[in-house]
């Protein structure tokens, strides 16, 4: 099987967020870049699919030169080759344009059986690129797959479980198809030391976005970014001797909390 996995590099959003001077982007100065966590699950699923059915895993990623590091990480986990769509920060490129460009390059690669990608990227959180790529490629997709039940290259189909409100649904889809991955669908492996060594020699092809016509592709523009400020009351009830409330304090704490919720916050 030819298995594709689309990944991106993202700002580690555990970190503090600062808006840039221009006011419509995030200041990435000094920020740590990591593989988008949801894409780690996608890479793992791709490698497991290869381990079961044979074939190759091709990584596709778009971004500036620094994303090579993330691509190498996926190669070290066990992917076989990679395509880097080099984009040195095209101003105002939105998700729509991104989807078009990535799909265009995947079409050129051709001959794939299945595509995995994360459900969204944790910085922009636009949550649409994966599905848009499937549509651009003219292949069906299953989004937010909690479990790949079966991939059957002979019968040319995949069977996936997807969680819905109050339960789940099982979807059967013909190959080639695209699957978007939430967290917890598998347990992403760490890159081993030999894996990291091997990754350095695996083939990595580069195409430049400047060679692609971007005219009129963007549909949405970010005009401003604000950091929400929510002041919390921070009224914490603690124990007398030691942090935890104990014994008779418990009743009093429960009583006090109810009073606060009723009289101060007025929510019960």
């Amino acid at each position: 099987m030819k298995i594709l996995v689309i990944i991106s590099q993202t700002q580690d959003t555990e970190a503090k967020i600062k808006v840039s001077a221009a006011g419509n982007s995030i200041d990435t100065e000094g920020m740590k870049w990591i593989m988008n966590p949801y894409d780690e699950f996608a890479v793992e699923e791709a490698i497991q699919t290869k381990e079961k059915h044979g074939g190759e895993v091709v990584v596709v990623s778009m971004g500036p030169a620094r994303v090579v590091e993330t691509i190498r990480q996926a190669l070290a986990m066990g992917a076989d080759s990679a395509l880097h769509i080099l984009d040195e920060g095209s101003p105002d490129m939105d998700s729509f344009a991104m989807g078009k460009i990535i799909a265009g390059e995947i079409r050129k690669l051709g001959g794939f059986d299945i595509v995995f990608t994360g459900m969204k990227i944790i910085d922009e959180e636009s949550g649409q690129v994966g599905v848009q790529i499937a549509e651009e490629l003219g292949i069906p997709h299953v989004s937010l797959v909690s479990k790949v039940i079966e991939i059957n290259p002979t019968a040319n189909k995949a069977v996936c479980q997807k969680e819905i409100d109050g339960g789940h649904m099982v979807v059967e889809v013909p190959l080639p198809c695209l699957i978007t991955c939430p967290d917890a669908m598998n347990d992403p492996r760490y890159a081993s030391l030999p894996g990291i060594m091997k990754a350095k020699k695996k083939p990595l092809t580069e195409v430049k976005v400047s060679d692609i016509n971007l005219d009129g592709l963007t549909r949405v523009k970010t005009v401003e970014i604000k950091v929400p400020q929510i002041e919390r009351r921070l009224r914490i009830i603690k124990g007398q001797d030691g942090p935890m409330v104990k014994g008779a304090e418990v009743e009093k704490a429960a009583e006090e909390l109810i009073k606060l919720l009723r009289e101060e916050a007025k929510v019960i």
Partner: protein, 331 residues
């Protein structure tokens, strides 16, 4: 191109209309349709759904487009994508809105790609700029940032909206019902839903609830989650959980609140034995009042809640729930 503003109804598995549909209709009427000078319309996609037109009319839809097809009985990606794309191509609305539900996230970006439209997801505010472009606000960067985004010169302008972000307000109309007359063939449906399992619940849905009680890894077992359900039921609240609790099998996946799971913003969120991770807060950080019960005084959640008790949940919850019960039975 018309000036119409469309809201696509989001249907639950039992066929009823999800609350976010009424919220979107109300907000679109207030913030968009008037300024644009276009009619507010509902869109119903499904099988045997035209009966819901009156409900959409109650929230201000003057016209309701219906695509009624046996093949749309249960939600399926291609069926919905074809239905909405064909309607858009035929009637060319200015703005199209849907709920950011599991289904909305699945087919809405596909429709946008198919009709060449721009789309944003999970908006918490919508309105129009002076030159009549759709403008939205949403969360990004694990809910630590709120970008404002404006649409450029393409039509239609499409967005999903986060449930429970707007008030549903009635504005009764008797809508004109338009048969969308979209043809869908069995061969068009590539991904087939071969099984749906749902269990009914008497608790409110997480994304719609005014109060939420959630449990984390510290609950320790599925059995112990009864403490969460008891308190939730006492408060008329929805029950939620962290990924750690779901992962451990203490409760089903659809209870997960957070970056991957549901986004909620109730007026009261009670977090029990939850440490307060960035990913969990990405889904509930905008709740009006946050309460934490945790035995670790150093738990990060105590830095970002309104009220808290440092204590063992097994000590604190029984008397707390009992006092809530007394309160409820009084009133």
């Amino acid at each position: 191109m018309s000036n119409e503003v469309w809201v696509v109804a989001d249907l639950k598995i039992d066929g009823s209309v999800r609350q976010v549909t009424f919220e979107a209709l109300s907000e679109a009427r207030k913030k968009i349709a008037g300024k644009l000078g276009g009619e507010l319309c509902g869109v119903l996609i499904g099988s045997g759904v035209s009966g819901h037109a009156a409900e959409l009319g109650k929230y201000g839809a003057g016209k309701v487009y219906v695509v009624d097809n046996e093949l749309l009985k249960n939600f399926n990606t291609e069926g919905y994508t074809i239905a909405l794309s064909e309607l858009i191509k035929k009637y060319s609305p200015a703005v199209v809105i849907a709920g950011n539900t599991v289904f909305g996230q699945d087919y809405f970006p596909a429709v946008a790609a198919r009709v060449g439209a721009g789309v944003t997801m999970d908006a918490i505010e919508i309105d129009l700029t002076d030159d009549k472009k759709l403008r939205i606000k949403r969360f990004s960067h694990s809910s630590k940032a709120i970008p404002t985004q404006v649409f450029l010169d393409h039509h239609p302008m499409m967005t999903t909206v986060r449930p429970n972000s707007f008030k549903a307000a009635e504005d009764p109309k008797t809508p004109e019902v338009v048969d969308g007359a979209v043809t869908i063939n069995p061969g068009d449906i590539k991904s087939k839903v071969i099984e749906i399992k749902t269990k009914g619940s008497d608790r409110p849905e997480l994304t719609e609830a005014e109060r939420v009680v959630s449990g984390g890894r510290g609950l320790g077992s599925e059995e112990n989650f009864k403490y969460i359900y008891q308190l939730a039921d006492m408060l008329g609240a929805a029950a939620g959980a962290t990924r750690a609790a779901v992962d451990a099998g203490y409760c089903p996946y659809d209870m997960q609140v957070g970056q991957t799971g549901k986004a909620v913003s109730p007026s009261l969120y009670i977090a029990i034995a939850i440490s307060g991770s960035v990913q969990h807060f990405a889904g509930m950080g905008s709740s009006k009042v946050i309460v934490a019960i945790n035995k670790d005084p150093e738990a990060p959640i105590f830095q970002k809640c309104d009220y808290g008790i440092v204590g063992d949940l097994f000590d604190v919850l029984p008397p707390f729930t009992e006092k809530v019960r007394a309160l409820v039975s009084q009133s």
